[in-house]
Amino acid sequence: MFLSSIIDKITRAFLDNNRYLYFLDGLKTTIIIAVGALLLGIVIGTIVAVTKIIPKKTKVGVFFEKLAHLYTTVIRGTPIVVQLLLIYFVVFASLRLNAVLVAVIVFGINSGAYVSEIMRSGILAVDKGQMEAGRSLGLTYYQTMGKIVLPQAVKNILPTLGNEFIMLLKETSVAGFITVVDLTKATQMIVSASYDAFVPYIVLAITYLLIVLLIEFGLKKLEARLRLSDNR
């Protein structure tokens, strides 16, 4: 009795009018935004972290450090939804950029602020003898940073970075504010069309959970690989 009503609801929500296609499209969009933003965030975060850490000798260096601090403060100090609205409807309004692309950029810039601080703590945790050893061999600051310090820093921060990715994935559920049909928005549309909230939202929650499980699994594999050098 209960079971048959559930099956009925699932059929109505996802199979009627091939509504599951909405859901799959939304899933694809969510993954594109999350992965794109993660990569962008790591690039921005690394540049910002190094900018904050590099020894300052020139006025230009000091200027960029201040800029980096301003960036983290502003981005961490304002809600992601407000950032989305501002950038989509104000900054990029005249450019008519694809909303998914804007979402990737905004979430990337947002994530970059958090990643930069994670990365900074990772770099600071690497023994300063590592930088000295690289420099003493004749490598430049950036060569040493790129080949010796950052790889060790990333290993240090991988669990925290995984945390950031999981939060980022879930945060993309507000992308609907700028007309993006992500997983959450697609589900809302299914709810409106099928007059049932229970099944679609439960499926939505489970889907996010499954993606997070997948991320956790991937991270574990990656960490095990990076920890090879720790074996004694």
Binding site: L137, G138, S229
Partner: protein
């Protein structure tokens, strides 16, 4: 080969190096000794500009060493060995040795690997070629660190207390390797507390105290008839 002129280094109000003048010739084995805090490590680190002096100049082969322009090229010719080894823990022993020469395009990947093999064979650690630094003992790590510096074909080797972080039974293997380098004619500047090594391998002793060079003499002279009271006092405390 290395000339230090009127070198002053201050950390805040603390004057660590006080007007140091020093000339080191090719082939010399200079051993810098002195009580802790006397500025010997700082002097060594100023030579390759890991520490930048407050004033004064350092010359390498008559060229002014300048942290803003030529320091990276000059460091390639000045190998440095640290107290804490500072091997790259995320890289295999082979990669530790080959990374820099390949990255700086001084050798091809194949040449660098050949050299790494030759160096590891020489220090008896060829079987550790694919190991990571954490899998090595302290003495092995330090020998690899020396090999890593040698892979750059340096003209001079700087040693900053290379045996101070080692268990006593591992000191000898490192000193023996350094002795070998010395007999091959490598120019060496060694900051150390190993008086036996200073006596046996050193061709010149620099005794420092309070940021100044107090004695600059031969090992024989220094250990049998030190001139300054400070050196006499120091030797009384370390030779027992």
């Amino acid at each position: 080969m290395i000339t230090v002129k009127n070198l002053v280094k201050e950390f805040g109000t603390l004057r660590v190096l006080d007007d140091i003048n020093l000339h080191i010739n090719k082939g010399e084995k200079v051993v810098i000794i002195g009580p802790s805090g006397s500025g010997k490590s700082t002097l060594l680190r100023c030579m390759n500009q890991l520490e930048i002096q407050t004033s004064g100049d350092v010359f390498f082969e008559d060229i002014l060493v300048d942290a803003k322009s030529n320091v990276n090229e000059i460091r390639q010719k000045m190998g440095m060995v640290f107290q804490q080894f500072n091997l790259f823990p995320h890289l295999t022993i082979e990669k530790n040795i080959t990374l820099t020469p390949v990255l700086l395009k001084l050798k091809t990947e194949e040449e660098a690997k050949e050299d790494a093999k030759r160096l590891l064979k020489r220090i008896g650690l060829l079987d550790k070629i694919d190991a990571y630094p954490n899998q090595l003992s302290g003495g092995q790590k330090q020998r690899v660190a020396i090999a890593r510096a040698l892979a750059m074909n340096p003209k001079v080797m700087l040693f900053d207390e290379p045996t101070s972080a080692l268990d006593p039974e591992m000191v000898k293997e490192v000193l023996d390797f350094m002795k070998e380098l010395a007999t091959e004619g490598m120019t060496m500047v060694v900051v150390t507390h190993e008086m036996g090594f200073a006596k046996e391998v050193g061709s010149r002793i620099i005794f420092m105290d309070g940021g100044k060079i107090v004695e600059d003499t031969t090992p024989k002279e220094f250990f049998t008839s030190p001139k300054s009271n400070r050196a006499i006092d120091f030797l009384n405390k370390v030779l027992y």
